[in-house]
């Protein structure tokens, strides 16, 4: 029974000091949870602390691999809007490439 931090983590440190079991540690390329130490905060807090402060949707999974903060739950940004974001980033990137080669 343990939570997991995955690659979308942006290394903001917010979760690390909150863990009652000191199960979270800095690693490359992102923070990790020691599954042996993690108790999902049961007995300490009503809700898992790391998942309660994490600003990145989908970055923390429960023991079944489900996202504790699914898309849209924190930012209000829907999947549809997210697709728009990815298109905008791609467009900016392509434009920068073109400007460089011009």
């Amino acid at each position: 029974m343990a939570l997991e931090i995955i690659e979308s983590c942006v290394n903001c440190y917010a979760c690390e000091p909150l863990c009652p079991n000191e199960a979270i540690y800095q690693a490359a390329p992102h923070f990790l949870i020691d599954p042996v130490k993690c108790t999902e905060c049961i007995g300490d807090f009503e809700v898992a602390q790391c998942a309660s402060i994490c600003p990145i949707e989908g970055a923390i999974l429960d023991e079944l691999g489900a996202e504790l903060n699914p898309p849209g739950s924190l930012t209000g940004i829907s999947l549809e809007m997210l697709a728009k974001y990815q298109a905008a980033v791609e467009a900016t990137y392509q434009a920068a490439l073109e400007a460089k080669s011009a």
Partner: protein, 502 residues
């Protein structure tokens, strides 16, 4: 015609000759403040409009964690070409931050201020933030320390802040009404829980106001930053201004929302527009009746280095400073010399201004002149309060308004330097087009030099290029040009200006 130079937003002084609280130029924005406050801010570029022409600041990004979410923020995104709060290239440990600060202080002696502003919330990272402050207050006592916060953890941090001799705190307060807050803050982290929507916003507002009052009680200077979000809090910010002033904030900085889809923020993706230059100025003017307003903020990155409006962060990346040997004792001597020289320069300016004020007081204002309309002028400057930048090299222009009652500083407009036009992020608009669009509403652009090529398009857009006042003091030059326009009969009525459509 002798024109007095007036304080921002306080044109009533023109009627009485010289109202004691407001006479002087925009340089003298702080003239009505008590002496001990002026002494604290005179060399702080983020608190004093005058100081920002002479002194530099830096931020160290030691505070990545945040305890709230704002709809205009997305800390996932970093672009070295982008300048906005919350954006950094590398997060530093306190040890690295101290090294970087000392390296910058030794190399840029005008750097007087070190701020911690993120990229998260400094007070949500108390250990990292205070370790940096502790070390710096011992090793670099000639640097002012300040911090910028969303205010949620402020009340519990006030004691620690006052210990480190931090006498400048900026709180970002976008609202004092939880219903407005619910549209800006989707959640906060509070007492071991994530609290969504209005309930979270209400707690945040309460903590901000409590923290503000506690700081004011201890004599710590508080500036309030507000992001102007049209349709969300624009009509509410005048109220915010009144409330924070009554709680003891001494300066209010209303900043325009920055939101683009490629930032990946909620507002960016929703297409939430930021205010136009005119809307921003109108709100700032509306607030200025109640509050001392700041208009020179550049909304810099959480790792910015240099004068406001410039970012020399790339010269001081960790890999570059690791090898630098810093003799801080020697650097402090050099820094003291540079600061003294700036102080002398400012003293001469102050004397000149006082003399001018006295002259106006003796002669009175000539009221037989027909009323003249106000004119906006753009100025290219590298600092020092003088016109010393080429048109083509300017990445921003300062905007001044000249009118029958004097000159006041309005704000700045960022652009892409014309001479580096090919190197932009490619949005299909040339650098000159962008500059013309940004300078809409201005009738003159003052710079040390302007090339033949942009001259025509500028004139066609109703913006007269002017390179005749190179190295002159900005306000003197603006007044001189305004007087020339008056003599030429250009100030009687609104001209039919062929501004390029935005």
């Amino acid at each position: 015609m002798e024109l007095p130079v007036l304080n921002a937003g306080q044109q009533e002084a023109s009627q009485g000759g010289c109202a004691s609280h407001s006479c002087g130029s925009t340089d003298d924005q702080l003239s009505h403040l008590p002496e001990h406050i002026r002494a604290k801010v005179h060399n702080h570029p983020c608190y004093s409009e005058q100081a920002h022409h002479y002194f530099a600041r830096m931020h160290v990004a030691v505070a990545p964690a945040c305890n709230i979410q704002c709809h205009y923020c997305n800390r996932k995104y970093d672009c070295s070409n982008e300048s906005r709060p919350g954006v950094v290239s590398e997060v530093l440990t306190p040890e690295q931050a101290v090294k970087k600060v000392m390296a910058v202080a030794a190399n840029i002696p005008q750097m007087t201020v070190l701020g911690i502003a993120g990229p998260g919330d400094p007070l949500a990272n108390p250990e990292r933030t205070f370790a940096t402050f502790r070390e710096l207050s011992e090793r670099a006592p000639d640097i002012k320390l300040c911090v910028s916060t969303n205010g949620l953890a402020l009340p519990e941090s006030v004691e620690e802040l006052s210990k480190h001799n931090i006498d400048h705190v900026t709180i970002t307060i976008n609202c004092v009404d939880p219903d407005v807050g619910a549209k800006i803050y989707p959640w906060i982290f509070w007492k071991n829980k994530r609290i969504m929507g209005r309930e979270g916003a209400a707690i945040l507002i309460e903590q901000q106001q409590k923290g503000l009052a506690m700081l004011a009680e201890r004599g710590i200077l508080v500036k309030v930053n507000s992001v102007m979000i049209p349709g969300v809090n624009d009509e509410h910010l005048a109220e915010v201004s009144r409330v924070v002033k009554s709680k003891g904030a001494f300066l209010h900085n209303v900043m325009p929302l920055i939101a683009e889809p490629e930032h990946g923020t909620f507002y960016g993706l929703m297409g939430q527009p930021g205010p136009t230059h005119e809307e921003l100025q109108k709100l700032q003017d509306a607030c200025s009746g109640d509050m001392n307003m700041m208009r020179h903020c550049r909304q810099c990155r959480a790792d910015a280095v240099g004068m406001l409006g410039e970012d020399r962060g790339q010269e001081f990346t960790m890999d570059k400073i690791e090898d630098m040997e810093i003799d801080y004792e020697a650097a402090m001597v050099k820094r003291a010399e540079v600061h003294a020289q700036i102080a002398r320069e400012l003293e001469i300016k102050d004397q000149a201004r006082a003399a001018k004020t006295e002259l106006v007081a003796i002669q009175g204002l000539k009221t037989d002149q027909p009323a003249t309309r106000p004119v906006l002028m753009a100025v290219a400057t590298k600092g020092g309060g003088v016109i010393n930048e080429h048109f083509g090299h300017a990445s921003e222009f300062l905007i001044y308004e000249a009118s029958g009652s004097g000159v006041r500083f309005i704000g700045h407009r960022k652009t892409v330097p014309y001479c580096e036009g090919g190197d932009t992020c490619g949005d299909g608009e040339s650098a000159l087009d962008k500059t013309l669009r940004e300078l809409a509403g201005c009738e003159v652009v003052l710079c040390s030099k302007v090339g033949y090529e942009p001259w025509g398009p500028l004139e066609a857009a109703g913006i007269q290029p002017n390179g005749e006042h190179a190295m002159e003091a900005i306000e003197d030059a603006v007044l001189a040009v305004y007087e020339e326009m008056r003599v030429a009969g250009k100030l009687e009525a609104r001209p039919v200006v062929q501004q390029k459509a935005a």
